[in-house]
Amino acid sequence: MKIIKTILSLTITGLIIYFLQNGAGAVPALGKFLNPFTGFWTNSEIGSKEKDGSALVRNINIPGCTDEVTIKYDENGVPHIFANNNHDLYFAQGWVTAKDRLWQMEFQTHFAAGRISEIVGVKGLESDQYQRRMGAVYGAENSLAGMLETPENTVTLAAYSEGVNAYINQLSESTLPFEYKLLGYKPEPWTPIKSALFLKNMSFVLASGSDELLMTNIARKYGKEAAEELFPNYPNLESPIIPVDTPLDFKPIPLPKYDDSFLGTGSKDVPAEQDKALGSNNWAVAGSLSFTGLPILSNDPHLTLSLPSIWYQCQLTAPGVNVYGSTMPGTPNVIIGFNEKVAWGVTNVGGDVLDWYEVRFKDATKEEYFHDNQWKKVTKRIEAIKIKGLPDKIDTVLYTHHGPVVYLENQKPFKNNVPVGHALKWVAHEKSQELSAFYKLNRAQNYDQYVEALSYYSAPAQNFIFASNQNDIALWVNGKFPLKARQQGKYILDGTSKSADWQGYIPAAHNPHVKNPARGYVSSANQSSVDPKYPYYINWEFAHTERGRRINDRLAKMTLANVDSFRNMQNDNYNLRANDILPSLLLKIGTPSPKLAAAIAILTKWNLQNNPNEIAPTIFDEWFKNLGFAIWKDELDIDKNHPMRYPQADQLVEFVKNKPISKWYDDISTKDKIETLQENLVSSLSATIDSLTAKKGLMGPAWAWADWKSTSVKHLLGANNPALDKFSRLNIQMGGGGGGIVNATTARTGPSWRMIVQLDKNHPKAYGIFPGGQSGNPGSNLYDNMIDKWAKGELNELLYLQNGNEASSRIKKVIKFSK
């Protein structure tokens, strides 16, 4: 009896311990995670008590610095680093970034490198294979080789890595960042390739979109003429970034010839897709239009918002540099910011820097492919993907001289715009010097040094806006752009033809640019870089024109611009698309039925502002979307295996306003009936009311725009995992809207950093905010402390110290590295 009791007791104890140690099924290993001595609890930050307002000073001995370094943290947790040389400066940048963002920077570079399966197991495999097959690691290796060609980058990258590693070496079981405890793994040493991977990943985020497959499918089905009618090569209404008739200050080289008669095979077999509405803005006015008589510059880059925040603010000071701005955790230098004399910012350029080439293999062995009238050897790159709990997956990727054949027939693409059996030519695969560009921008003192810095930058191409306290303003549409014939790469290209290859690049000095235009301002909002007279081809399609047009309209009327008028513009909720199309919609729908009349009345009274409590923007946005479905869906979304796309929004506006009759209005699924535009308008508004009523109840406050749009900032692990909702901020009450509104915020995207810099002869004044906080630790008050202020459209005054001796009551904590 005693023995049985003993065995029973031991077994129960053993089972409980085993379960808590190893977890079971979906339940993680809770023993370690919940242990109040070293588990997640110890990541809770307990507010430190300040005594009489003076900052807490802590000296720490960290091996690796060559001289003393002082790091002052302000009340928002922004580190202000004062170092005596570049090595120590970037060492400290690596250290402070790791201290606040180690898990994020490692996770994002693991993602970029196609190594998520190591952490989450087989469910990460498809994403990993996609990253590898698209050539992410191949590109980062090339990129690193390029960066290491200059001594300053070698020092910067090595010092940054040393700083990150110094922090990793300090960690104990209890100070390990929260997410490592949650997922049950540990950080590995940081190396320069990770910084390169991070920079390359920006090309994935901003310049990996491609519509060639979808366009080719459309041309195959309806003919190239119809495709060109629906997808014109310049918008109907546009206000290009480089003002029309800006004189050229270079002699253009002729565009290559290219035979555009090739029509690719298009889709062989593929599944579904996602939509994005990013909308970055930047603008600057010259002293002639500003209150201060010197330029003011504004920038708000838009990205998919996440926690920990995308950006990390930092001030970097050492001999030869004193710069403040937003950095990207994982890479040295400030990416968007200002120094004593200049300020700069970026928005994305939708340049066509990625093309697909249909490959003809000799036989099933795929050892050779046909190009330029001869059989050429395929090269192979082996990608070994480690998977938690399973043996490695060995993936062999074939490369032609263009680049990787991303998916072969019988492989299922991770994204539906990737054609199978096609080689990818992408500027992101090339050796590049982005790091030099930022290193030099951080130190630039005038326009010429800004231009020199930009010459090192290749991808992802950005609209680099600039202002200096010498009263210069400028904008360069900057990056490495392939030298192509017009519209070359709008459709899939012929991989066997030499004339379809890229014929070099547009010379850096010929990139579109403008300095001190007569109109007194420069701006960009991802719209067309140039008007069609520009001697080079950048792309046939850019982002919606509305934001750019609206910004330029407002700037044209601006006098005595100041920080507040700029802030007001960043928060502009005016719906220019509604302005363009709503009168036509209301006119052409005819006499509404009683069901539609209430909605029509609300739309008629609307002041066209996408404000949080309005319901008109909800109705308009849904109606416009449903109208697109009504007109295009029957022709352009018919077969999941042959994905196509819809024309851009401004084409829909053009059709409604100016094309009373078109074959596209007919719903081809109804056999004996030809639908008219008016019928499409009625059915789409009716569908809008039905779907809104079904989701939100009867028309009323429940249809409010902010709730319908429901902007959320989610934890990196919580995008599709409601269990982590408490780590995210959901349904933030704010106005704005999709890519057509200056204050572009959608369900998951929005301004990831807002900055306004007022240049000054002595010391600039700057303001900024991002949706989140400096700390990546969900157990810190600084994890998401800026979100509410951000949602209200307010900015923080940025603390820009002149030097290490300047005192400020905003400094709350000081860390000194001794030698």
Binding site: T6, T13, N43, S44, E45, D725, K726, P778
Partner: protein, 139 residues
């Protein structure tokens, strides 16, 4: 033995504390061994070290199975519960409330209480096992 008395029926904290204190007085050695031993070792060793401490302490000191289970359970439950409460209250639940949400609980306070219960169960069973194993050698 004190353990033969029924514990106070009230669930008020005062009664529980009184009860616990009376136990500590009587079984001070066993309780202190488990509580303090685990407390110190938790800073260096994995979480399950507390089960080993409870097992060995009960093997050495426990007088009965009931006593081993009760004292082991209270010691470890209290140790984990108090430490977790410290973090929860001192940080105003900044992280414990989020983790509670992740585990499907309404707040970090309840998470702390459940954690104390689980820890108590683990400690109690480990101590009981220690006593029972020892008793095998006795006769």
């Amino acid at each position: 033995m004190a353990l033969n008395k029924t514990p106070p029926s009230g669930v008020g904290g005062l009664f529980i504390m009184n009860y616990i204190l009376s136990k500590i007085e009587q079984k001070g050695a066993l309780f202190s061994l488990i509580f303090l031993g685990s407390f110190i070792l938790h800073f260096f060793l994995p979480w399950w070290i507390c089960t080993l401490v409870a097992f060995l302490a009960a093997f050495w000191q426990a007088k009965s199975g009931k006593q081993a289970f009760a004292v082991g359970g209270v010691a470890i439950g209290l140790l984990w519960g108090l430490t977790a409460s410290f973090w929860h209250f001192a940080s105003q639940g900044i992280l414990s409330n989020k983790v509670a949400g992740m585990l499907g609980l309404p707040n970090g306070g309840l998470l702390t209480a459940i954690l104390a219960l689980i820890a108590g169960l683990v400690g109690g069973n480990a101590a009981l096992s220690g006593y029972l194993v020892k008793s095998l050698f006795k006769k």
